[in-house]
């Protein structure tokens, strides 16, 4: 990426737990100063990867290079551990004051008291919790506790920050304000950060790159827009928010576009494919438009399908509309258009989407 030096490089990393391979990363590079999000469902190996990089778990195979120097897993890793910091899902504060908690990493390093005081004050200020200085860690809220945990990690001035779902136990408003603060602090300090999360919006918002993980493997790494719009496979597609995933077979080619048969319906898309090839169409719900009657606008889109509304699920700002047009299709509509079009479950509508808005994934092995 932009030729910036890599701070951490992983080669053929494997972790085995109780005889099962739980992590298998052939290669991963982390650039200095970047924010990389690990997203994936529970059990995908995000925590294992972070803990392995923090040198809390011994890998069963593979190498980790820190700033080009190999950090062998057998070496004493104290020096390395003192250059990275990790924040867990639970704040894991010590049973003492907030000050002592934030100071703990510095005390471990044998820093002098006056210096500790200065650094602790700075970090509490940064996270907006200066007023908690003398409070007992037992008597603060969940959001405050997670701020203290982050301040404790930042106080050690880590070269790499590893965050393991630090917001998952917080309620939405608390999470939102902490996320905003963390974002600005990370940008300001330019701290190299790896953050595990199962919230893809969180990942898309904070990160320079996103890595999608499942079953101990990284399926795709890239800038958020790339992962969102060009998922490499069905799993990544479904995980990054593509609601409609349709398998089909190429039946006709005409110039740059082609037509595939999806459950007996002809759907047009753009891409380089072979005739008879198995493909998967990924259609993002925001790219599907609904109308009550076929209109002028819809005629410019090649893919127009009449269908019936199966279900409408309110999602706050917009509504998720599940349709059946001979194949399942999901569209997002705003509350405004929901009212204008008088959409309701069971109503007949017309759905249209552009051929260019379909992301085409080619199936390896030709199975559908």
């Amino acid at each position: 990426m932009n030729g910036s030096p890599s701070i951490l490089e992983v080669k053929d990393l494997q972790v085995t737990k109780a005889g099962t391979l739980v992590l298998d990363i052939p290669a991963l590079m982390i650039e200095e100063g970047e924010i990389l999000s690990l997203i994936g469902p529970n059990g995908a190996g995000k925590t294992t990867l972070l803990q392995t990089l923090a040198r809390l778990i011994k890998p069963s195979a593979g190498e980790i290079f820190f700033k080009g120097k190999q950090a062998s897993p057998n070496n004493s890793d104290l020096e390395y551990r003192r250059r990275v910091a990790m924040v867990f899902q639970e704040p894991l504060l010590f049973d003492t004051t907030v000050f002592e908690n934030v100071a703990s990493g510095l005390k471990i390093r044998g820093m002098q008291r006056p210096e500790i005081r200065k650094i602790v004050a700075e970090n509490l200020e940064q996270f907006g919790i200066s007023h908690l200085l003398h409070r007992s860690a037992r008597k603060i809220s969940g959001g405050e506790a997670q701020r203290v945990a982050l301040a404790r990690a930042f106080a050690t001035h880590p070269e790499i920050l590893l965050l393991d779902e630090p917001f998952s136990s917080l309620d939405p408003p608390t999470r939102e304000s902490l996320l905003a603060d963390l974002e600005s602090i990370l940008r300001q300090t330019k701290t190299t950060t790896l953050m595990a999360t199962h919230d893809r919006m969180e990942a898309l918002r904070l990160s320079d790159r996103v890595a999608v993980m499942n079953q101990g493997r990284i399926l795709q790494v890239g800038p958020p827009a790339e992962v969102m719009n060009q998922p490499l496979d069905e799993f990544v597609a479904s995980f990054v928010g593509v609601e409609t995933i349709l398998p089909g077979r190429v039946i006709r080619k005409n110039g740059g576009s082609f037509v595939a048969s999806i459950m007996g319906h002809e759907v047009e898309a753009v891409g380089e494919v072979e005739l008879g090839e198995s493909v998967v169409f990924c259609i993002r719900p925001e790219n599907v438009t609904l109308a009550v009657h076929p209109s002028k606008e819809s005629s410019s889109a090649r893919n127009v399908f009449p269908g019936k509304i199966v279900k409408i699920i309110p999602l706050g700002l917009y509504h998720k509309v599940q349709l059946h047009c001979g194949f399942p299709l999901v569209a997002y509509v705003t509350g405004h258009s929901l009212e204008n079009l008088a959409l309701a479950e069971g109503k007949e509508v017309v759905a249209y989407f552009k051929a260019t808005s379909i992301h085409v994934v080619k199936k390896k092995g030709g199975r559908v």
Binding site: L56, L78, R82, F88, E90, F94, D95, I108, R138
Partner: protein, 232 residues
């Protein structure tokens, strides 16, 4: 009824006037049991922490042995300490049988498994990821153990109190290895046994009240510890 009322009246008089004999016995009790508890603290906390933090084959057996040790019958301890310290015994050359030192040894043997068992449970009850978090903060293994012990300080204090409570109220071993010698190895429990058998109920009741007060104080601290919350 008169016997009891009269006994209680005299007992309070003994306590209020700070009767030298009663005070002497109390002080010696606190000294012996306090020293024994201090010794058990070092043995119990270090061994308990070690077992809590390590994985080895047969660990379950060790843990169950420690738990059994928490209920070690004092007379059995008294018996074996007596045998070992007997003139012809393996440690007879020390010549400490029927001395306060022998009582301290016996009481430390009784209290150590109690402190050990509670330390083991206390360290194990800490959040599983806390160990990783401490290491992630850059701690050495030794620093990590020390921080964990500090984190478990309240349940550990409970262990110390339980150990102290066990030995201060124990009579079997103390009488066997201490001999209940007046002004030398006579403690609250052994004195109570003797005064009761002699029919000196007033002194026996006074001593009993002191033991009860100590038990109350210990439980007050334990209750306070139990009601505290862990930080997030």
């Amino acid at each position: 009824m008169d016997l009891i009322l009269e006994g209680i009246k005299k007992a309070f008089l003994l306590l209020i006037t700070l009767d030298p004999e009663v005070m002497g016995i109390t002080l010696l009790s606190l000294q012996i049991s306090g020293t024994a508890t201090l010794m058990s603290l070092f043995i119990g906390i270090s061994a308990g922490t070690l077992v809590a933090l390590s994985q080895f084959p047969g660990r379950r057996v060790v843990v169950s042995l420690i738990n059994t040790g928490m209920g070690l019958p004092p007379v059995v301890v008294g018996l074996f300490v007596t045998i070992f310290l007997w003139r012809n015994g393996p440690l007879g050359f020390l010549e400490i049988l029927y001395t306060p030192t022998a009582m301290i040894v016996a009481q430390a043997i009784i209290a150590s498994p109690i402190v050990m068992g509670i330390s083991l449970a206390a360290i194990q009850a800490l959040p599983k990821n806390l160990r990783l978090q401490i290491l992630a903060l850059g701690a050495t293994r030794l620093q990590m153990v020390w921080i964990l012990i500090k984190e478990a300080k309240l349940p550990l204090l409970a262990g110390v109190m339980a150990g102290f409570g066990g030995v201060i109220s124990e009579v079997g071993a103390s009488i066997m290895v201490g001999g209940n010698i007046k002004g030398y190895s006579r403690v609250l429990t052994t004195a109570t046994v003797m005064e009761t058998s002699r029919g000196n109920f007033d002194i026996a009741i006074a001593l009993g009240i002191i033991l009860l007060l100590l038990a109350y104080f210990i439980n007050l601290v334990l209750t306070h510890i139990q009601q505290r919350e862990r930080p997030r």
